[in-house]
Subunit: 191 residues, 2 copies
């Protein structure tokens, strides 16, 4: 997706050969127009799949997921990383390990909003080692719903997540595929 | 805002005379069409104010704020409640006390995205005691930017937040104003 790649090149910051910081338009400040374009692109790639729900994780997945939900005409559920007062019982839970932060956290959704009849699109901001996406897929399976695919805003293609998801049979659509962050430069995968 | 009040009446759950749960369309599952309507309404109320930025707090403020940002044509910054790896230095920070949870947390934004020339709209999902809004206003003041007003999706008008903000001279626009949750019933303030 060209507008996204341009934004990454102009406003992304390469912190190391592993870490791309996009706080300028996705992870802290959000560009709503770009989010709308991203939602449009996800919808174009997954239309005609009968999707009934989108699932994502707080906080950075919410903006792209809601824009995709608007285009596809379906609700969005965001998994919570921290249990809140009004969301205590009847949860599906999964463990997500972050290799970047070296932490394991629990993500959870209420069992009220996902059902066995749902066809679910997973959306997240980044795909690195695939652990967050697998955690969300775990929640979907607990609801006995169907995983239609995984939509990612920025994929770090030099990490293992994409292949891990493909090997398990999931369709992965990443709007920007970063081939390398070497030497402080972002290069993209070209098909 | 009638569509929002209808949604609260049909899908909100009154947990006590203090707590209204709207996990069905705002705080956990999100209704993107309603969020678009909410963004439209915020934009209508605050247009012609020269707003340059919107600020909110993760996670539930993001969807309405991004839709308002799309309508107003301005970026959205979401304050973080938990420090992340790629967001460590050069922060504005404020303390936010939650009377509901009886906790005090630190919220933070990078100083890169707010400047003294900015005219800022604060958006949040709920207004109860006003502590979250005041925390966001504190961050805006640290940047020496201007607070244009506070846009709230659901105001609990029987709590002190609205008056606290008005007394400090801030404009408050709440799209639904809940007068009471007594006897398990939601009633709204009528002007």
């Amino acid at each position: 997706m060209q507008a996204l790649e341009q934004k990454i090149l102009s406003e992304g910051i390469v912190l190391s050969d592993q870490v791309l910081k996009v706080d300028a338009f996705l992870n802290h400040q959000i560009d709503p127009v770009l989010m709308q374009q991203i939602g449009h692109e996800f919808a174009a790639r997954f239309k005609d799949q009968g999707i009934t729900k989108i699932i994502t994780i707080e906080a950075s997945g919410i903006a792209p997921a809601v824009m995709a939900g608007l285009e596809l005409g379906v609700p969005v559920i965001f998994a919570r990383k921290h249990q809140s007062l009004t969301l205590k019982n009847d949860l599906y839970k999964a463990q997500v390990h972050s290799f970047t932060k070296q932490t394991t956290s629990t993500i959870a959704i209420s069992n009220k909003y996902l059902h066995a009849t749902d066809k679910v699109l997973v959306i997240d901001d980044f795909l690195a080692n695939g652990q967050a996406a697998l955690g969300l897929i775990d929640l979907i399976h607990q609801a006995e719903a169907e995983v239609v695919g995984v939509g990612i805003v920025i994929e770090k293609s030099f990490q293992t997540g994409r292949q891990l998801l493909l090997d398990k049979g999931y369709r992965v659509e990443s709007l920007a595929r970063v081939e390398s962050l070497n030497d402080g430069q972002v290069t993209f995968v070209r098909d």
